[in-house]
Structures are given as C-alpha cells and as structure tokens.
Symmetry: C2
Subunit: 169 residues, 2 copies
C-alpha cells in the first residue's frame, strides 16, 4: 500500500481533495497532509472542508512517500510562495514517483520549473501560464505523461481518480 502526500493549504477545491482521498483510502493507501504549519486546520473554499496539516515539506523528505496529490482551488497559489513547498514538489517530479495534479495544481509545478516539455492539463485560467512554462497543454479529462497525471476540474474527478489509482498499484 502506498503512502500518499497531499500538499494542501487554505482555499483548496473541496472535492478535489475529498474525492481522491476517499478513493485512495478505500484502496488501502495512507494519506499524509503536507502544509505550511503542522497542526494547522486548513479549509476548503466552497464547503469549508477542514483538513489538519500533519507535517511541513521540510520535515518530511520525499523519500518517505510513494506519491503526491496536488488539489486545486486557490491552495496552489498560496503554497507556491513557500520555498520548501516548491522544493518538495520539484523533488517529487524529479524522483519519478507519481504526481497527481488537478485544476490549479500546475501553478506550483510552474514555480518549481518542472513543466518544460511535459504534457499536462489543468484549469483553463492557467493555460497560458502552462504554455509559457514550456508545457504542452492538452484539453482532456486526464493526461498521463510519465509520472505526472493531470486533470482539469472537479468534472474530471472520476477519470482522474481511476488514473491515479492505476499509478498506485
């Protein structure tokens, strides 16, 4: 069973956290919440879903995990100003361990400068950001490019979750 890091802070898109997590746990995987302050309660932007942060990115090396989930909403915008969070994501991408990104998730991948030459999708507001970052944007419900699985929005969740679960087996 896999240990999945979820990098998360306030204003995450509720369903992009709750639905994948529910499916990952149902398949026996462990979830560790990585955020800006251990013990902090962060909240979703639409439903106010509460999540308790377990560890900071600095306190837990990428080697401790098997995969990374980046929920969307405005959480990635807040995480990408934190150097440790960006470095954590960069190391994940370089490790070739699965990285699951949805909606605004690619924003932190852009700050980590790991999108060049990668095929990826995400929320439509950030398409030009992805293109300028050297990414190959595709408008599909999910895309798999080596270790990176990405989707556009909550509508894509069923396909996204299925693709993620296949990477975790």
């Amino acid at each position: 069973m896999a240990k999945v890091a979820v990098i998360i802070t306030d204003l995450f898109e509720d369903s992009e956290y709750t639905k994948p997590i529910e499916a990952f746990r149902a398949s026996g995987h462990d979830i560790i919440h990585v955020g800006l302050q251990p013990g902090q309660i962060v909240r979703g932007k639409k439903l106010g879903t509460e999540v308790k942060v377990d560890v900071t990115p600095k306190a837990c090396p990428v080697a401790s995990f098997d995969a990374l989930l980046i929920p969307g909403g405005y959480s990635p915008d807040k995480l990408r100003v934190d150097e440790d969070a960006v470095e954590f994501v960069r190391q994940f991408m370089q490790s070739d361990k699965p990285v699951f990104s949805i909606c605004h998730g690619p924003q932190i991948l852009i700050t980590a400068k790991v999108l060049e030459g990668r095929t990826v999708t995400g929320w439509k507001s950030i398409i030009q950001d992805i293109v300028y970052a050297g990414g190959n944007f595709v408008d599909q419900e999910f895309v798999i490019d080596k270790n990176l699985v990405s989707s556009r929005s909550p509508i894509d969740l069923p396909a996204f979750i299925e693709a993620c679960l296949q990477k975790l087996t």
Copy 2:
C-alpha cells in the same frame, strides 16, 4: 477628468479596489465597473466589499475610457477565462492608455500575451509566471514601464495610487 475602467469580479482584494477608487474619485475622475454580467454584484475576498458591475468588456470599447485599473486578489484568475475580458485588457495595453495593475493583476496580462519585454511587478506567487511570459520582474513597491504602472500588494497602495494619479493628470 479621466474615465477609468475597473475590470473586476468576485474575490477581488478589497483594498486594492477601494483605496485607488477613493483617491481617483477625490481627484474628480469617473469610475466604470467592467465585469462579466451587467448589474451583477461582485464581492471582495476579505471584507465582502460589494461592487455593482456597470458594463461587460464587449459592450464598451476601449476608446470610451482613458485608463484601466486591474485590482488583485482572485478576481484576475476568474476574469482571464473570459475571452472578451482578455481582449479588453489586450486592447488597453496596445492603446498606450494607462493600465494600473496590482497583486495578481498581471495574470490577465499574461493571458493577453502583452508582458513580453515589459518591466512589471506583482504578487510573489506569480513571479515565475511573469518571467516565463517574457516579463522583466522587479521587486519594487511600484514600477512604471511606459503606460503600465504595477505594484505588488496592499502594502504598496500609497505609492501605487500616487503613481496612478500622476498618469491621470
């Protein structure tokens, strides 16, 4: 006296709207709220400041205005998925009329593909986006590059407003 378009939608950073508008009006300038639906009430993200949208970008040509203000917060993220809003901002930049951008404001300039070779500042989360878009990011309280005046955050508002007012005289 100038006619200033404010392009705005939900989750704008309250003070990045209220403070410049207050100063512009005190100097005798007119404010027109440009948004996604005429008559819509949009709200600020911290204080819930209410703003009524006057016109859509399509209904009002850039020729009707003398300057453009782009408040930050998450309003630019929502506006940049609207083609008419992006085209409105692009035409403003190309018209050489003053464009005032603060915080996340450059996000819509990126989607409009008008930042290449321009010197600009903005909120720290979008620095890499600006760099990838060909912008020359500078970490200053305000920057003037031809018609574009930009600042980083609410802390910069006094300097930002002064620079904007000078462009309106």
